[in-house]
Symmetry: C2
Subunit: 331 residues, 2 copies
């Protein structure tokens, strides 16, 4: 069986507004360090007015993953909502220019919300603190799911952040049905420990019933299973899902499957901007899966792609990922 | 006498759309290498549809110069037209967040043109080929000149590119009158050899009658005086204007004044993106002038600021220019 797509991603379609800040900016403006906070338009305007000069680059967690997969040559598509405004056009361009199929209709200019954006505040240590005005991306619902497109994909990749929208649960459910009924598989990323906190039961329910691959970092996995102990959390994940990849920051990643665990170290790079590390790990890992590599190679591909993304500003690939993979003997 | 501003810049208000491309892209899409080409909206859409993923960052030649001056702590303002659309708001934010005063009213959303943008195509050697859709910035006219603001500035800084608009000649004339009548001085950058080609007589007329500081690179200066010989061009400039700073790429810059010449070498840096080299040379040079430095120091400041800007993507400062200047003993 040959399907048209290897991975279709579904998530928050967002343009990142990236700015370097001093450490004290976070406290002065009540920004939580190192996590993603949802903010409304009023707060977005206020925060932006205090931020320094910025640059704009397409983002969105699952969209970054899909862009990374497309950069590696995988056949991909993306589902997420933007408006037909300048930022929406930029988002659509960047994804298509990378080689991904993106057919979610842009919302009409009369819509009361704008294209979503995320103010990414990068402190001198490279850590990013994200403040997201969801805008149009909040409105993803089941009508946005093209069952034929999903049915033509080997994998669907669901962004945990989208659990924040009630309509999006229904969208995910529809996508899962369309995937499963055509032999497709389901991957999910937990996105953020606070996102897990907000939707633990929904996550666990989906993971136990529908998910074939769970992607998470150690904080998210511990939050999911309400434990401070990573080993305990990993044991629980092993019981719940066939395949789990758990990143552990600068220590690399664990892969859990069939009762055995593999650990792969992280790439040693100078962290310029940690934005997108998890997203690009997912790109590399999924690329390994869809090209039939063993689990250790999948994890090495994930760590290599993550290492590329944190070595520069922005969460979309800057260097050629295929060249980088070749230089590591991964291609 | 202490004025409110040290430099007020006037030019094309533009957001840069930056993308890395392979060398062959230029030929395949009829893009002239290393210069700025004006394009219409149709061509902009066509070129964008073929470009790879990009990032957006505020640009505009004189605006970059003003941003650099503001980053150095100078008191600055900027005059240039954008629309009240998302890109216009980004442009306004980035300038104000850098500390510059920017009070040109944003054109209403009903205006038929959008905020101007420049597709900057960066080849692997770091050279940039620019394709500019001027949009709103084309409409700069005398009504946009606030004589009181100009009168409160020690220098005005005119962007040669704006000679492309007939109304802007009148705007420049009004600004020059307002400056001269309050003891202000006039700097101009020639912007581009082809821009000089288009407006040689107007440039020469202004330079001979009104300009106190001429900023140009070697290609522009040779174009201005219709000679292939830089020394001849510099001799002609010495006759026409009191102070000239002529950059010569990786060889640094010459300063011509009072019948003597000073040469300063360029900073040795890895060129990542040459966009803004001339703009930031102007920032450093003008910063030296308004803080009373000698001409050699002014040129060293220019070369240091230019070196910073070409070592990264985008034409707005990324590192702290004051820290960099301090590390060189310039502050």
């Amino acid at each position: 069986m040959s399907k048209s797509f290897q991975v279709v991603g579904i998530g928050n379609a967002i343009v990142d507004v990236l700015s370097h800040i001093e450490e004290r900016f976070l406290e002065e403006h009540g920004v939580e360090r190192g996590i993603m906070q949802l903010i409304d338009m009023k707060r977005a305007v206020e925060l932006y007015s205090h931020m320094g000069p910025a640059l704009e680059i397409s983002g969105g967690s699952a969209a970054n993953t899909i862009a990374g997969l497309a950069a590696l040559g995988a056949k991909t598509a993306y589902v997420g909502k933007v408006k037909d405004d300048q930022l929406g056009q930029i988002f659509a361009h960047d994804l298509r220019a990378q080689g991904a199929v993106y057919e979610t209709p842009l919302a009409d200019r009369s819509h009361s919300h704008e294209t979503g954006r995320c103010m990414v505040l990068v402190t001198p240590d490279g850590e990013r603190s994200m403040n997201t005005y969801l805008g149009l991306s909040e409105f993803l619902g089941p009508d946005d799911i093209d069952e034929a497109q999903i049915g033509e994909s080997e994998w669907i990749f669901l962004e945990g952040y989208r659990f924040d929208g009630p309509e999006s649960h229904a969208a995910f459910a529809r996508a899962i049905r369309a995937a499963k009924s055509t032999g497709g598989r389901v991957a999910i990323t937990l996105s953020d420990p606070f996102c897990v906190e907000r939707h633990r039961d929904a996550f666990l329910n989906m993971i136990r019933n529908d998910v074939d691959l769970l992607l998470a970092n150690e904080h998210e996995l511990k939050s999911l299973y309400l434990t401070e102990d990573l080993d305990t959390a990993m044991t629980r994940a092993e019981a719940d899902v066939a395949l789990t990849a758990c990143t552990v920051g600068s220590r690399g990643a664990h892969v859990l499957a069939d009762g055995s665990r593999v650990h792969v170290p992280a790439d040693r790079v100078q962290v310029v901007d940690a934005t997108g590390a998890g997203d690009l790990f997912a790109s590399g890992f999924l690329f390994g899966l869809v090209t039939g590599r063993d689990r250790e190679t999948c994890a090495r591909m994930g760590c290599t792609a993550a290492g590329e993304i944190i070595s520069h500003i922005g969460a979309r690939p800057a260097a050629s990922l295929p060249d980088l993979f070749r230089s590591r003997g991964l291609l």
